[in-house]
Symmetry: C2
Subunit: 284 residues, 2 copies
């Protein structure tokens, strides 16, 4: 196995299985056949043709779109057709920085193939023998990827917090980190990928941060989402990512990006060019 195999998982989807999910004439997501068929139950909300699934043009403001969508999603959830449910509203956009055309329940975002933004924090410690990385193990009761290895802190980007405030909040909840320590995290880039997962089609932009932690800091989970943390040397991270699927699919990508940015993987790796292109949106 190789880094490219891990990254290929994050680009694994079959475009022919989906039709565009359109809002106001532009594509905002992807709907599979089962979803398109189910949405025929809501003729006032969706216009469904052979080629696409469109939100009705009569829904022409963010607030009336969001309200109509909320009713549809509650119905899908009640009938068991949308098992994942987070109780958080997510903005629907085509790209970062745009005003959202509506808000929708986070659990339904991948079901509609809508782009989501998230943050991933690399918790780093400089030791005499090199860089070490805090690795978390996800709780067995997580809906997504239970028991898999994770970053010290990661989370979705909701509509009502700045990226910086969200990062500080997640660092507190997931790793018991004081505000002033979390605030030292530095943006380090972003990863782009689209892939099929059990909850639907993930079209993600993952903002990556590096946070250098004092050697005596010990992460402590406060929200029950993490079983425990371990501090690993980069070499162990590299080996584990390359040779197993122990890391959650997208966290593997975050670790590979870390290995690239810190020079642990360099041009002497014959896959270097493809790894870098595929971390940032180019499909293998």
């Amino acid at each position: 196995m190789s880094y490219l195999d891990r990254i290929a998982v994050c680009h694994g989807w079959e475009p022919s299985r989906y039709r565009p999910f359109m809002i106001s004439g532009s594509r905002y997501g992807w709907a599979d056949e089962a979803l398109a068929a189910r949405l025929r139950a809501f003729p006032g909300v969706f216009d469904i043709s052979d080629t696409d699934v469109a939100l009705s043009s009569s829904l022409n403001t963010p607030s009336n779109r969001s309200a109509a969508m909320a009713e549809v999603l509650a119905d899908l959830h009640d009938s068991g057709d949308l098992p994942y449910w987070r109780g958080e509203l997510y903005p629907v956009t085509r790209r970062w920085g745009e005003a959202p055309v509506m808000l929708m329940e986070r659990g339904a975002v991948p079901r509609f193939g809508v782009r989501a933004f998230g943050i991933h924090v690399n918790g780093l410690v400089r030791k005499d023998d090199g860089v070490h990385v805090w690795v978390g193990r996800r709780s067995m009761n997580k809906e997504v990827a239970p028991g898999k290895l994770d970053n010290i802190v990661a989370g979705g980007q909701p509509h009502d917090l700045s990226v910086r405030d969200n990062l500080i909040k997640e660092c507190g909840e997931e790793a018991g980190m004081p505000r002033d320590l979390a605030a030292r995290a530095k943006a380090a880039g972003a990863l782009l990928y689209v892939c099929e997962q059990p909850d639907g089609l993930r079209d993600d932009v993952a903002f990556c941060f590096d946070l250098w932690l004092p050697p005596d800091f010990r992460p402590r989970n406060t929200d029950g989402e993490v079983q425990g943390f371990e501090l690993w040397p980069l070499a162990r991270v590299a080996e584990t990512v390359r040779d197993s699927d122990a890391f959650k699919f997208n966290c593997a990508m975050v670790q590979i990006d870390l290995l690239i940015r810190h020079g642990f993987v360099g041009p002497d790796d014959p896959d270097y060019q493809d790894i870098i292109a595929n971390l940032h949106g180019t499909r293998p």
Copy 2:
């Protein structure tokens, strides 16, 4: 002007103006109409159809391809049809890590739209007021981009040196850097772009390195390719790259990548997602 404008320059080319340059059934470059017409003078070397320019299948080893190409290129240079000439042989590959199918004069690489690999070194100094970057100004007698701003060290990747040895050589020639100092440079990623330049179509993979320099180090050019060096704070680099074309086209991209990786440009920039995608091969 914006960072995206700088990056768009590095993706500026019109695919319809080119036909594939084929070797042994695979595309290795792009030839424009003028080149295709000129190469009809060498019927034993090229098979030219309406759709592509192919190296003759009778040339079936790296050494006989390289020898035939050398004769053609010398003829083009003598007749004034290939003004750029470097006197260095470059490997022809489709991707990093492959064995080359032939070697060819570096000055002809963009003329045939063949992919080239290069190294770019960011010379960084940590000061009390933040990160500073050494900026070089290219000599007025350079064939490419005379007088433009540049990295402290940059150079093409020839076929007969490892990336690491090439970096050490270039650091010595371009910035008078001792071997042990240059050896501290750390790989930090790569940039991918294709664009039209005066010497042809540049299909480049630029390997980026960060090198933290002691505050008392002063770069000193030894090969006449640099007029002089200045140490700039990141903020001045950011402003200059964003608001002018003072940097050589691809060095602007290297600086933007530096600003991204060091968190100077973060998710609060609405162009963040597109900047990152476009630094790594996705066309705007």
